[in-house]
Symmetry: C2
Subunit: 327 residues, 2 copies
């Protein structure tokens, strides 16, 4: 069961690489959409031996446009509602420079859709798996780019993982209720919460912090890479200081494990969302599992955010400023 249309991705990339010699790939978005492009950026920057790969918050791309932007660049933009002004502007900046734009959006007919060379319309509401489609499409585009341009020896294993990952993540989210309710009970009055992860999931920690906690719950929050924990943030650890650790199955797991050991040793209030507990390995072979952690962490932590929103009686859709005022 694919949640994403691999043939569509394959044909878009084939059409692009037939027409142009692609040397650069830039991922451009804002907030949650920026973070949902990170796993694709992480994969492509690691796996490609030829492509130059970059990742921007949209206005940095717009105001300090890289010197190399041009015909040989593919720009992948994302915006759920398709109206984020900075990201729509990025479509224009990219197109004006001769780059090819692939937009990911849930909103057919939106400005983002209409100003891109190619647009892929992804799901969102249906279930937890649907909420992963934006991230999955970005990864699939990255995979097709590296495979079609230079060949990629783990291509078949990546494709097999795409075939299973959405169902495995949906099932994981459905099993997360009990752990999520325990988290909600323990963290509901926390004055602030730190979130960390590593590898491809580094920006799941980021968006869980700045979007789910700060934006949607008005809870103070900080986030950092679990490998950076020992180079600053760990000095804040005392008994009962609240942490969330998104643990990876794959190459960066030792980084996460070292952070967990320290948190436990000094009795920090720690919630772990471990991709191993949710059987990520059922979806992916060990040589590519590193790249699929963000889908699992995003699906499962969504349930955690929902549970804390219920217990705090603060809906995830509640806002002070967003959608309400001009800024």
């Amino acid at each position: 069961m694919y949640n994403i249309n691999m043939n569509l991705v394959k044909s878009i990339v084939a059409e692009i690489v037939e027409k142009k010699t692609i040397e650069n790939v830039a991922f451009v978005g804002c907030g949650a959409s920026k973070s949902e492009l990170y796993p694709a950026k992480y994969f492509l920057a690691n796996a490609s031996k030829k492509l130059r790969v970059a990742h921007y918050t949209a206005n940095e791309f717009n105001f300090d446009t890289p010197d190399w932007l041009g015909e040989s660049t593919v720009v992948i933009t994302a915006s759920l509602g398709g109206t984020t002004p900075e990201t729509v502007k990025a479509n224009g900046v990219a197109t004006a420079a001769g780059a090819t734009v692939i937009a990911l959006t849930h909103a057919k007919g939106s400005a983002l859709d209409q100003t891109a060379d190619y647009a892929i319309i992804h799901g969102f509401e249906a279930n937890y798996a649907a909420k992963l489609e934006k991230m999955g499409y970005a990864m699939a585009i990255a995979l097709e780019l590296v495979n079609q341009i230079e060949g990629y020896d783990k291509y078949d294993h990546m494709i097999e993982a795409f075939d299973k990952i959405f169902e495995v993540c949906e099932n994981a989210a459905k099993c997360a209720g009990k752990a999520a309710r325990q988290f909600a009970q323990e963290y509901k009055d926390a004055p602030m919460v730190y979130i960390m992860s590593s590898g491809a999931s580094a920006e799941v920690a980021y968006s869980s912090s700045i979007c789910l906690m700060m934006e949607m719950q008005w809870i103070n929050s900080g986030n950092f890479h679990a490998g950076e924990f020992f180079h600053g943030p760990f000095e804040i650890v005392e008994k009962d200081v609240p942490f969330i650790l998104l643990m990876n199955d794959g190459k960066t797991r030792p980084i996460d494990s070292r952070a967990l050991e320290f948190l436990n040793r000094f009795d920090a209030l720690t919630t772990v969302v471990d991709a191993k507990d949710y059987a990520l390995a059922n979806a992916c072979s060990s040589d590519v599992i590193t790249y699929f952690n963000p889908l699992m962490h995003t699906a499962v932590f969504r349930v955690f955010a929902e549970e804390i929103s219920y217990i705090r009686e603060h809906p995830l859709s509640k806002r002070r400023y967003m959608w309400k005022i001009e800024y």
Copy 2:
């Protein structure tokens, strides 16, 4: 007056590019040293039309080593004391793959110095300018790489800026006392503080948050790109929530200005360190000024951190865990 030895950098890079065809440049460090490599990464990733550029916390580089690491890669590592285990290990990972390593450290004879192909020993204690040498050397290496490999049309302006920037930053730090004491008075009891910036200074905000505030003052802190502020974090803004904004002179200034306007509108407790107020333009021409903001922000915000450490009677050198226990 140079604080850094440009001829040394020029000759190291010349020797490397004479022997090998360089295609990849990776910057690798931990914590403050990682963040001090970011301006060089930012410059090179934007300005080079050929080189592939990456930036890692050291253990991510060690545990999920990129597929392309090899003979055609220059790895630039940094560690003040030259003993950071992850970064020393990165020297080994890079060398074993056939890459060329340039290490930046204050400690001659340290493990980092001894395991690199080239080492540059930089200052630290002498004054505020000396604390910028690590960052400056990384930028100078990036400049020589792009210029010697493919040519760079703003090379002369960059060199002119290096000639003046250290003295201009030293003078700026010496003028910052009054503003820093006001900051210390206003923020000394803050339960947490958010720090943001944009462009080349994005990771000055990061290290100011995780190192100066969390590590050295045990003050809760979060940080993010000023362009991301409107895509999550701004929902936390209320009267008197404490923010620090490191404002850039150059291309990303409109991003910072937009964030400042919002903070002022909703009466957040806001401290601004504006590169314009400290006359960054005296050191750099407008076509390269964007890249030199991190040196100014680092010099001036150091004074702010010192002043808050005095008023809180919490020395910047005080630690619970670092240097005290094994972890």
